[in-house]
Structures are given as C-alpha cells and as structure tokens.
C-alpha cells in the first residue's frame, strides 16, 4: 500500500520557483559582483601607510593618557552629559503629546496627520545633518547639540509611543469610555497604565542613544566629548583619544546595564 508514495521530498523554492530563471539570476549576480570589485581601486601604498597609522592608534589605546588633557576631557564630558540629560528630558516632554496625537485610535484624522508629519520630518533627518545645520545657525558649542538631540528624541519617542498606543488592549479603553469618562480621563485611566512601562523604557534607551550621539555630533562642532575627541585626533594625540574612547565605552556600558536593570524593575 505504502509503495505508491514517493520516498524523497525537496523543499520547493519559495522565491524563484523556475529553475532556469534561478540559475540565470545567480550567474547575473556573480558577474555583477566581479565587475563591481574590479572597479574598486586599491592604492596598496596608502594601505600600508594606513596600517602604520592604525598601529600607532592601537598603541595609543594600549597606553591611554587620561592626565595631560584631563581638563579638556572633563569639560567635554560634563558638556556631553548635560546635553544628553537635558535633551532627553525636554525631548520626552515634547514627544508625549505628539505621540498621543499620532495615535490613530485616540485623535481625529487631521491631528493624526499633523503629528505623524512632525514625526516623519524628525525621523527623516539624520542627527549629523541636523547638527551641521544648527551649528551653522547658532554657532559652535553644546547649545546646537542640545537642540539636535532634542529634535531627534522627538521623532524617536513619539513614533514608538504612538505605535504602542495603537496596539493597546482596546477593551480596557472601551470600559473606561462606557463609564462616561472624558477623553483626558480615558488617557489617564486606560492609556497611561498600559504604556507607562514602555515609555520609561524608551526614555532610558533614548538617554543612552543620546549620549552616544553627543559624541558623534561633537565632531561636526556641536560641543561635548565629541569635539574633544576630534581635537585630540587632529593633534595626533592618540593616547588622549584612546582615553576618551575608553571613557565613552565605560559610560555607555554603565548606562546600558543600569537602564536594563531599571526597566526590569519597573515591569
């Protein structure tokens, strides 16, 4: 009886079922890759020079010099931390109402569209580009950095918060609506309890993103530890640069561990 059934089975190809087309595509990709690699010009002399410089860089890391530029480093650090904290607080405060406005299930359509547009603008501009623009407007220094990070925080938190509000348990909201509560009471009793842990988690996450970003935007002139790092590399002081990078790594790790601990505690 069982002899009538085949003994072999192959998983059918999901993406390109036709065998000939599949082989043609594979050959095409291979040819393209070969051609693409052949156009990359490698200057081997510069590569060896670069390796030498990289070696000095690594030596600098191995002997980090915290002391000789400590005043610049500490000043940059304080600027960065101030920028990070203030921009996160202000950014979260602004993004909460925008996030609520960008949740389709809570607001009329025009409000939704306006808030989603704000989110889209904030998210489509990369931090470095915004920083360059704001440095040109307000000059070098941490103020431009503060504005940049606040702007980026709004897009990040408002979008994730809005998506979260759209996925809440609707029956809880329905129950509060059925008691005759107002829209603000609905927010307070049905929405807030459902999204609060997530909002706190996102804010902590954004805090450590903002610190890392503050180092990057410092390079384009927005103050903070990034500016110090940039200066030390320009001066070929790789030992100080190594010290700065180690400090950044340490702070990011502390932020990472403490925020994940806090998030677990708040669940």
């Amino acid at each position: 009886m069982i002899a009538q059934y085949p003994t072999t089975w192959r998983r059918p190809h999901q993406i390109v079922p036709d065998r000939r087309l599949r082989i043609a595509l594979q050959i095409g990709v291979l040819v393209y890759l070969v051609l693409a690699f052949s156009t990359v010009e490698v200057n081997w002399q510069r590569v060896t020079e670069g390796m030498e410089r990289g070696q000095r860089f690594i030596m600098g890391f191995l002997q980090p010099d915290f002391t000789s530029r400590w005043r610049d480093i500490s000043q940059g650090l304080i600027e960065s931390l101030t920028m990070t904290l203030t921009s996160t607080v202000v950014g979260v405060l602004i993004s909460v109402p925008i996030g609520i406005g960008a949740a389709r299930n809570l607001v009329p359509r025009p409000v939704y569209l306006v808030c989603r547009a704000i989110v889209a603008v904030s998210r489509s501009l990369q931090e470095v580009i915004v920083a360059i623009f704001l440095v040109a407007m307000f000059g070098f220094g941490p103020f431009a950095g503060f504005l940049t990070l606040t702007f980026a925080t709004i897009g990040f938190i408002a979008k994730l918060l809005a998506d979260d509000i759209e996925e809440i348990d609707e029956t809880q909201a329905e129950a509060i609506r059925a008691t005759g509560g107002t829209w603000f009471q609905l927010l307070d009793y049905a929405i807030k309890p459902q999204i609060m842990p997530r909002l706190i988690g996102l804010s902590l996450y954004r805090l450590d993103i903002n610190f890392r970003e503050s180092a990057v935007i410092g390079i384009v002139g927005a103050g903070g530890i990034g500016a110090t790092l940039n200066t030390s590399i320009d001066r070929y002081e790789y030992d100080s640069a190594g010290a700065i990078l180690l400090i950044i790594i340490a702070i990011v790790m502390v932020a990472e561990y403490s925020s994940s601990y806090l998030r677990k505690f708040l669940q």
Partner: protein
C-alpha cells in the same frame, strides 16, 4: 424602563448587524440575549451605550432618548449605564480600588480622578461594593494579580459604582469555568434583584440562560426571532434561533465521529486477536 424602537445598525462594510430591533425592558427585569456568533448581540448592547452608533431607530432610557446625544450629554447618560465585559476589561496595571473608582469617572472632575482624590462618599461606597462582591481584602492588589472569577467581580463592582439605571452585560461567563460562571450569574441576579435594576445579558450558554434569566430574547442575523419566558424555549425555538441546518450538521458530525471511533475500536480488537 428601557425602550428600543426599530433599532438598526449597518456597518460601513455594508453588513447589516441589526435590523429593526424593538424591545422593552421594564425595571428589575433580567433579559438574556441569545443567538449564534455574528447575530448582533454585542452590537445591540453596544448600541445602547453608543460604543457603537446605531444607524436608525430610537433608544429611550427612563424617558430620555440616547441616540442623538453628543459630548457632555452622552457622557452624562453613559454614566447611568453600567457595563460588564467578556474578558473583564479591567485596566490591568491599576489597583482593584482604582478600577472600582473608575466607575465614578462620569461624576468627578478631571483633577479629582487624576490625583486619585475621590470624595469620601465615593471611596466609602467603593469599599462597600468590594465587600459585597467579596473582595475587600484585595483592594490594593493590582487587577492582573486576580483570578478570572475575581476579576469579573471587580468588573461588576465597577459597573455598580456608576450607580446605574441599567446594566449591560456582554458574555460575562465566556472566559470562566462552569462553577465560577454560576457563581457570577448568581451574584448578578442577586444584585439586580436588590436594586431593582434592569439588565441585558448576552449569553451563549443556553442552559445557563434558562437557569438565571427571567426572559429570553433570541437574535438571529440581526432580528428578534424569539421573545418569551425561559420555559417557552423549546427545541423548536432553539432551531429557529440557531438554524436548522446547523443542528443537523452538528448531529451528522457526531454520527461520523461515532462511526470512526467504533471503526478504530474494531481494528484494535482485530490486531489484538
């Protein structure tokens, strides 16, 4: 007294969920609403407190029409209508006490509800209600720490905190075990009797409806096809509500199942022999 006259609801997709439903529920009466899934039971009770907007007809509660209200007037009327939900619909991260007090939202100004500074009388009544449903000791627990039956009793306390003139109950026992279901139904009927409260109860458990309801309304494809005392709910009436084909199909399915089982038994016996 609740009066529905020719209530219809057509969803935007064109599905007619209710057509021309007329009902009168006098004070103190508990009405069971039965019918197959998709018959419009949920839509009907949600039309009454306007969580769903009816497309035609009139709904009058205690001499006041509910269909044309908006904004503040709608909230004023909603607070007179307590609602109890299938999956309890408690706000899980709030405490039991906050859930019960949320029944007062239609009565208190925003700052009181926001600061949780309810008036003494409201808090006293909330404690009294929690005691009535047997959960006084759990007032400060989070709602998600309770069992299903306990959660539904918090749901009942929340609805009663509204000081309602009508209870809407949507499948109160669908997520509960049979014993807890009976306890919840008994509690509901007792409370309605104590307060002379009318209630409309969506229920898909026919024996439970027979046991606890004073009157049964059968809904089929959005129209009322049965409206009488539970004793009049005969086999024929059930067929009228749930459809003849379904009963036959179910029975046929049972036959097939029985045949398959006896066949399996026979084969087992042969192998053993």
């Amino acid at each position: 007294m609740l009066e529905l006259s020719s209530v219809s609801k057509t969803y935007r997709t064109g599905d007619a969920a209710l057509s021309d439903v007329s009902l009168q529920v006098p004070k103190g009466q508990i009405v069971g609403l039965i019918g197959p899934s998709g018959a419009g039971k949920s839509t009907l009770i949600r039309c009454i407190n306007r969580l769903v907007e009816p497309t035609a007809g009139d709904i009058v509660l205690g001499g006041k029409s509910l269909v044309s209200l908006g904004g503040r007037d709608l909230r004023r009327q909603r607070r007179r209508i307590g609602m109890i939900f299938q999956e309890y619909a408690l706000v899980e991260r709030l405490t039991v006490m906050e859930n019960v007090l949320s029944g007062r939202l239609g009565y208190v100004p925003f700052w009181r509800s926001f600061l949780r500074r309810y008036e003494g009388a409201d808090i006293q009544r909330a404690y009294q209600l929690l005691d009535r449903v047997g959960l006084l000791a759990h007032a400060n627990k989070r709602a998600d720490a309770l069992s299903g039956g306990q959660r539904q009793r918090v749901g009942i306390a929340r609805a009663l905190a509204q000081d309602p003139d009508l209870l809407l109950v949507d499948e109160p026992t669908a997520s509960l075990d049979p014993k807890t279901s009976r306890q919840i139904m008994r509690l509901l009927t007792e409370i309605c009797a104590e307060r002379n409260l009318p209630a409309i109860v969506n229920i898909h458990d026919v024996p439970l409806a027979r046991q606890f309801m004073q009157r049964i309304v059968g809904l089929r494809a959005g129209t009322v096809v049965f409206d009488d005392a539970p004793s009049a709910l005969t086999e024929d009436a059930l067929t009228e509500i749930y459809g003849a084909e379904d009963w036959d199909a179910m029975r046929k399915g049972d036959d097939e199942q029985a045949e398959a089982e006896s066949d399996a038994l026979r084969q087992l016996a042969e192998v053993g022999a």
